[in-house]
């Protein structure tokens, strides 16, 4: 039995909101596998892990687990089912842009062909584990899709399992913790032992008693040396935001501009750790749990679906006519985005498809009531930031703390004027990043230019020196020849 304790979090999330959670909607039905779809879609640049390049060509036959995309970060995405690559073309993708992008289209052939990696045998070192995570395409499955191996630095003291799942409607993590508890615990233990981490914190909201019981049972069976510190959090959005969770569970404020890794903390989603456990056994990520929920669906449930499954197929799996929906929210109601083309395939970060009718109240002017500031978990003044952004004053918004915004949209939920604050901040943060990028590129270009000038100058000087030397040599030789001629004459 692994050692563990269960404690109530002694800290209170500052700000935050208590939205209706609607979690029962999708947890009352059991989690099921869905039938394989007729085609699978893998965006080459937007599968997570950065822009990629295809490793297969049209007409290739692939097995389940055959590498098909290699990303800039090294991450490899595999075919989630055996089949044939029927096309590589621009296709609708599951992405906030709701746009098309180059994608690999695979038609599953129903065969059980598998091409997995060899199982790793314990003990292995951190580099081996990193390589395995790259080959198995392990990404943050909570939604951000950050390549997991990049978080695994050696000076880490604590691993936090982010089991808060604070967004309304979402129950994919809850479901995973109920049915795949052992994989999650095993993944966490393997990672911790490899990185020499002593404490594993599980931050879980107190509205998931079933998952908690499953974790307890799994820990009692586990033979791990790790100490598990299970922290029960009050159900409050956004306690599952990484920074907020680190503070709630450990009391560490991750400094602005740095990642939690730099404070000695790794935060992983339960699904990521379960996937890591399977990757150690040789199985790359081919499937994930997706919550299909929302009042506009006929039935709501969690399903295990192959990566690349078109949204349409999943909507149909809930006995809902896709034509009855104009768009679907990918992710939760707070941080999710809309996708209108249901041919787009789910990616590794698609944790939820939410269909509901939302009445959008007309926006009225900001009266600076400060309700948003009270709800902000980062203690920003959203009312000031939005007025700067609306006035086109990006610098002023950054001064007010725009870059510290975690885009949780708690401000949206409490605004009496129904201002889409979070959308303004997402846009503003994008512009701020672009601007910073531009400044960086400009600085680099200037450096390159200056270096080039110096180099040219040096070359010119060298050439001049050579020329002078050559001239002197020629003059010397000429003089010598003249002298010889004079002497012979």
């Amino acid at each position: 039995m692994a050692e563990y304790q269960i404690r109530h979090c002694e800290r209170q999330l500052e700000g935050g909101i208590h939205p209706e959670t609607y979690k029962d909607l999708s947890t009352s039905a059991p989690c099921v596998f869905i039938d394989d779809p007729k085609r699978l879609v893998f965006p080459i640049h937007f599968s997570g892990g950065g822009p990629g390049e295809p490793l297969v060509s049209i007409g290739d036959t692939v097995s389940q687990g055959t590498p098909i995309i290699k990303c800039q970060s090294g991450i490899i995405h595999v075919a989630s089912r055996a089949g044939t690559v029927i096309d590589i073309t621009d296709h609708a993708i599951t992405h906030p842009s709701d746009d098309v992008s180059a994608s690999i289209i695979i038609e599953p052939n129903g065969s059980k062909d598998q091409s997995y990696l060899h199982p790793l045998s314990w003990p292995f070192d951190a580099d081996t584990l990193r390589d395995r995570a790259i080959e198995a395409g392990i990404l943050g499955l909570g939604g951000a899709g950050f390549p997991s191996f990049k978080k695994w630095s050696d000076g880490t003291q604590t691993l936090i399992i982010n089991a808060a799942e604070c967004e309304p409607y979402l129950t994919a993590d809850d479901t995973l913790m109920r049915i795949d508890t052992h994989s999650m615990i095993r993944g966490a233990c393997m990672l911790s032992q490899t990185l020499d981490i002593k404490t594993i914190v599980i931050g879980i909201e107190d509205n998931k008693p079933e998952a908690l019981a499953a974790i307890e049972a799994a820990l009692q069976e586990s033979r791990s040396d790790c100490f598990f510190d299970i922290v029960l959090l009050d159900t409050k959005y956004p306690s599952g935001s990484a920074r907020q969770l680190v503070w709630l569970t450990l009391g560490i404020e991750v400094p602005t501009g740095s990642r939690s890794v730099e404070s000695g903390v790794i935060v992983h989603n339960p699904g990521t750790l379960a996937a890591l456990s399977r990757a150690i056994d040789g199985k790359p990520i081919t499937d994930r749990i997706v919550t299909l929920t929302g009042e506009a669906l006929t039935t709501q449930k969690n399903v295990i679906a192959p990566i690349g499954t078109p949204i349409r197929h999943l909507i149909e799996a809930t006995k809902t006519n896709p034509a009855s929906l104009t768009s679907i929210t990918v992710g939760g109601p707070m941080m999710g985005y809309q996708v209108t083309d249901f041919e787009a395939g789910i990616t590794k970060t698609t944790n939820c498809l939410l269909a509901r009718e939302v009445e959008i109240a007309p926006e009225s002017p900001c009266i600076r009531c400060g309700a948003c500031a009270t709800a902000c978990p980062v203690r920003l003044q959203p009312q000031q930031m939005v007025s700067a952004l609306k006035g086109g004053l990006l610098d002023r918004a950054i001064h007010e703390g725009l870059t510290d915004c975690i885009e949780c949209a708690a401000c949206n939920a409490v605004c009496p004027s129904h201002i889409p604050l979070a959308e303004w901040f997402r846009l503003g943060r994008f512009e701020a990043r672009e601007k910073a990028n531009e400044q960086r590129l400009a600085a680099e270009a200037r450096e390159r230019f200056e270096a080039r000038n110096k180099r040219l100058e040096r070359i010119a000087q060298e050439q001049e020196a050579k020329r002078v030397a050559r001239k002197a040599k020629t003059a010397d030789a000429l003089n010598k020849a003249r002298k010889a001629r004079e002497e012979s004459a």
């Binding site: 400094p255 002017p365 600076r368 400060g370 978990p377 920003l380 000031q384 004053l393 703390g401 009496p416």
Partner: protein
């Protein structure tokens, strides 16, 4: 027991309606002690505010309906009506309200854009342009007028028997030669039910109840009322070491617009400071200015000028009272990026 809400109402119209509801006890108390003139003023002001709002929106070619139904204009009207002398003639109410809405609000772009408190702007404009009406038409609560008298006052024929200067004014003029004990013999004080000031004490209590309810509903925070009232109490208590020359603490607190302003005027979010700490400083500033103007100025009450002056300081207060952002060493100070 009803659970306290987690946040203020999530709709501007409901916020405004909540504030209007919180004013009801105060309005009832005012009507009981100062006569139906209070109600006449309120009705006139609401109608004027709605008409001015519609006129401005029409001229500015903006949609009229959403702004009329969000009750913001109604609230401005009610606030200015409650701030005006109870025996004010109809034209004074109309002029004050129209200037509040037109000059105070729409000149700057309407709801959410006003740099100063619209009601106080209207009030201050009237005080400067119609000083006699604004200083001599205050009802003495001991002589609550009947309906006919109130109606005559509304038509512009106020009776000297029921109206005069404010209690604060009395202290500055008539009570100057009296000792504290002599002043306390004045029926305004000697006949008071609660031992403070006849009538005013009930009005103040009613506004206090409404204000506390607003805090409970999270429409306002404690910072503003505590800032103003604590400042007034501390300063006036400090200067009342000689009770014969000073205006007593409770007169500062309840005879003027103190309680009403603390909960309903200074709390205008648009023109005030926006962070909790900023709101506290804003209110403290209003408190200090109010005491100074009441004591050394020529006006019967000082809240309006104090609020207007602090309104101009609000943006600067905001720059220096930001909370420390999570993950930062210190809070960000100063106005920042100018691009």
């Amino acid at each position: 027991m009803i659970k306290r809400p987690d946040y203020p109402p999530i709709d501007t119209a409901i916020v405004m309606r909540t504030v209007l509801m919180a004013l009801i006890p105060g309005i009832i108390a005012m009507t009981l002690f100062f006569g139906v003139g209070v109600l006449l003023n309120i009705i006139t002001a609401i109608l004027t505010a709605l008409a001015s709002e519609a006129l401005c929106l029409g001229l500015r070619k903006r949609p009229i309906n959403p702004r009329l139904t969000d009750l913001s204009a109604v609230l401005t009207g009610v606030l200015i009506a409650l701030a005006l002398p109870q025996a004010a003639p109809w034209w004074l109410v109309i002029a004050a309200t129209a200037s509040s809405v037109i000059l105070g609000k729409h000149l700057y772009g309407g709801l959410g854009q006003n740099p100063v408190n619209p009601a106080m702007l209207g009030y201050a404009l009237m005080l400067i342009s119609a000083p006699v009406a604004m200083t001599t038409l205050w009802i003495n609560p001991l002589t609550t007028p009947d309906i006919a008298t109130a109606w005559n006052a509304y038509l512009g024929q106020a009776s000297d028997a029921v109206s005069g200067a404010t209690t604060l004014d009395l202290y500055k003029t008539e009570f100057r030669s009296l000792t504290a004990i002599e002043a306390a013999r004045n029926p305004l004080f000697s006949q008071a039910h609660l031992g403070l000031i006849y009538g005013y004490e009930w009005v103040a209590l009613a506004y206090l109840m409404g204000g506390l309810w607003l805090i409970y509903q999270r429409v306002i925070t404690w910072h503003t009322p505590v800032g103003l009232l604590a400042t007034l109490v501390v300063i006036s208590a400090f200067f009342s070491f000689d009770p014969d020359t000073a205006t007593p603490v409770w007169v500062h607190l309840i005879a003027g617009a103190g309680i009403f302003a603390a909960f309903f005027i200074l709390t205008d979010p648009v023109s005030g400071a926006t962070s909790p700490k900023g709101r506290l400083w804003f209110a403290i500033g209003v408190g200090i200015l109010t005491y100074l103007i009441r004591t050394y100025g020529q006006y019967p009450d000082a809240i309006a000028f104090a609020v207007l002056l602090m309104n101009f300081a609000a943006p600067m207060i905001d720059h220096y009272t930001r909370p420390r952002i999570m993950g930062r060493e210190a809070s960000v100070k100063g106005p920042g990026g100018q691009s």
